[in-house]
């Protein structure tokens, strides 16, 4: 069997999973090789010199040698660790959604330069932005464009009529905006004017400009729903990480409810004791 030379590549670590007692399998995303699975040996030991350099949501330079079935990481050096993506759980959740999208839509040994640059730029922007969800929205639209799922925002996807901002619908199944008359005939879900304008603005603007737009909670929820349905069409299923994003959004109300329930229990106990 011909011996494969060790390779060097820049990559973003998308995720890890444990292997045996001390190793991890790292899923790397390289601009030249697409998705690469590589074993990082000994990184679960406390004194491993490599463990901090193969953490998910970091960018690094990697040396890889071909093992029996997977690559083996021979050396790793961090180029970007994006600390705020790890310290702030909201940013982390958005970054994981982007990483999962990339992981599920790329294959091994397929050059993915544009998608790599998109992910890298989006993680850079996410690390600094005041509005983490806006970066994910922007990333998702660009992802659709690159992967051949570009939503139609200029003409009705059913009758090809030009569309303006009012009375439209959005059909994830048909892949874009539905004009008022087709929407009236039962096609697509309601697309409000602010969300329609935001979608068009995101398409022609940078991630940083998108993050500056003020979006109220109602428009945000509507946009999330349209993007989620479009992703489900593209991926043929839900993003696994979206479940945690929903849990995180409810976290504070869960805490307040638990606090109220505890206070109620205490009051009842005091009343029982008094009786």
């Amino acid at each position: 069997m011909p011996r494969i030379r060790p390779i060097r590549t820049e990559a973003i670590v998308l995720r890890q999973r444990p292997l045996g007692d001390a190793d991890r399998i790292c899923v790397l995303f390289s601009p030249t090789r697409g998705r690469v699975e590589a074993v990082a040996k000994g990184v679960r030991k406390p004194l491993s010199k490599m463990s901090g350099h193969v953490e998910p949501l970091s960018r690094g330079q990697f040396g890889l040698a071909q093992g029996r079935s997977l690559f083996v990481v021979t050396d790793a050096q961090t180029l970007d660790s994006w600390p705020s993506l790890h310290d702030d759980v909201q940013r982390m959740t958005e970054a994981l959604a982007m990483a999962e999208l990339v992981e599920r839509s790329t294959d091994a040994d397929i050059s993915s330069g544009p998608l790599y640059q998109l992910l890298r730029h989006s993680l850079d922007a996410l690390a600094d932005t005041p509005s983490p969800p806006a970066i994910r929205w922007w990333f998702t639209l660009r992802f659709f464009d690159q992967q051949g799922y570009r939503p139609e925002l200029e003409a009705c996807v059913r009758c090809r009529a030009d569309v303006g901002p009012g009375g439209n619908g959005y059909s994830a199944v048909d892949g874009g905006v539905v004009c008022p008359s087709c929407h009236g005939a039962g096609h697509g879900q309601r697309l409000s004017s602010p969300v329609f304008r935001l979608l068009r603005y995101m398409r022609r603007s940078s991630a940083e400009s998108t993050a500056q737009v003020r979006v109220d909670a109602q428009a945000s929820a509507e946009l999330e729903q349209h993007l989620r349905l479009s992703l489900e069409q593209a991926l043929d299923g839900r993003l696994r990480s979206s479940g945690f994003a929903e849990e995180l959004a409810r976290a504070e109300s869960i805490g307040r409810n638990a606090s109220r329930a505890a206070a109620e229990r205490e009051r009842e106990e005091q009343e029982r004791a008094a009786v």
Partner: protein
């Protein structure tokens, strides 16, 4: 695992059983199986009894969710320990490690895992509800999050700090930094950043001693 025709089926079954244990490769599984075969019958019986007993008599402590054979467990019943702090850990083995270090005299709570968004493991898969039930007690003043310093640990700590923060209980997280015996030269950026951010002043008296 490939079964050799020269190996009796009963021994092959034992080898396969050992091989399913974490950290046991095919060679180690073979060595263990033949060791049991050569050992006196009493040793094999003691091993089998211990295996069955651990399955039959252990359960989760209703308070801290640690694995125990008496409910509540000895740590939860210990009157010498403080009720004001609860140290939250991912796994039962983490309790054993912190107890060996002897650095925590409060109570524990074991989550039995960590949130892993990309694997679809969320808070409802862990013992989070049981933790929130304990925090209603006014005696709890501080929750110490002792998650592993990796992505899953950070997601878990981030989620818990939001939930517990809304309950008005003080939350702290164990410090990150360089482990004893490590080289600064090989440390990654985030570890060094954490180590520098949480640096401590050296007590002058201690330094001159």
């Amino acid at each position: 695992m490939q079964r050799s025709p020269a190996t009796a089926p009963t021994i092959a079954r034992l080898i396969e059983a050992f091989h399913r244990l974490p950290g046991i490769g095919p060679k180690s599984a073979q060595r263990l199986a033949y060791h049991v075969l050569r050992a006196p019958r009493s040793e094999a019986e003691a091993l089998a009894e211990a295996l069955l007993e651990v399955k039959d008599s252990t359960r989760l402590c209703a308070v801290c969710q640690n694995i125990t054979d008496a409910d509540p467990c000895a740590v939860c019943l210990d009157p010498q320990r403080s009720d004001s702090t609860i140290c939250v850990v991912e796994e039962p083995l983490d309790v054993a490690a912190i107890e060996r270090a002897g650095v925590h005299r409060g109570r524990y709570h074991v989550l039995h895992g960590a949130i892993s968004p990309m694997d679809g493991v969320g808070p409802e898969d862990l013992k989070v509800r049981e933790l929130l039930g304990r925090l209603g007690d006014a005696s709890v003043e501080e929750v110490i999050l002792a998650m592993n310093p990796n992505l899953e640990g950070e997601a878990t700590a981030g989620y818990l700090s939001r939930v517990i923060g809304a309950m008005g209980v003080r939350i702290t997280r164990i410090a990150h930094g360089l482990p004893v015996g490590a080289d600064v030269e090989y440390a990654d950026e985030r570890t060094l950043r954490a180590a520098m951010t949480h640096r401590v002043e050296i007590d002058r008296q201690e330094a001159t001693d």
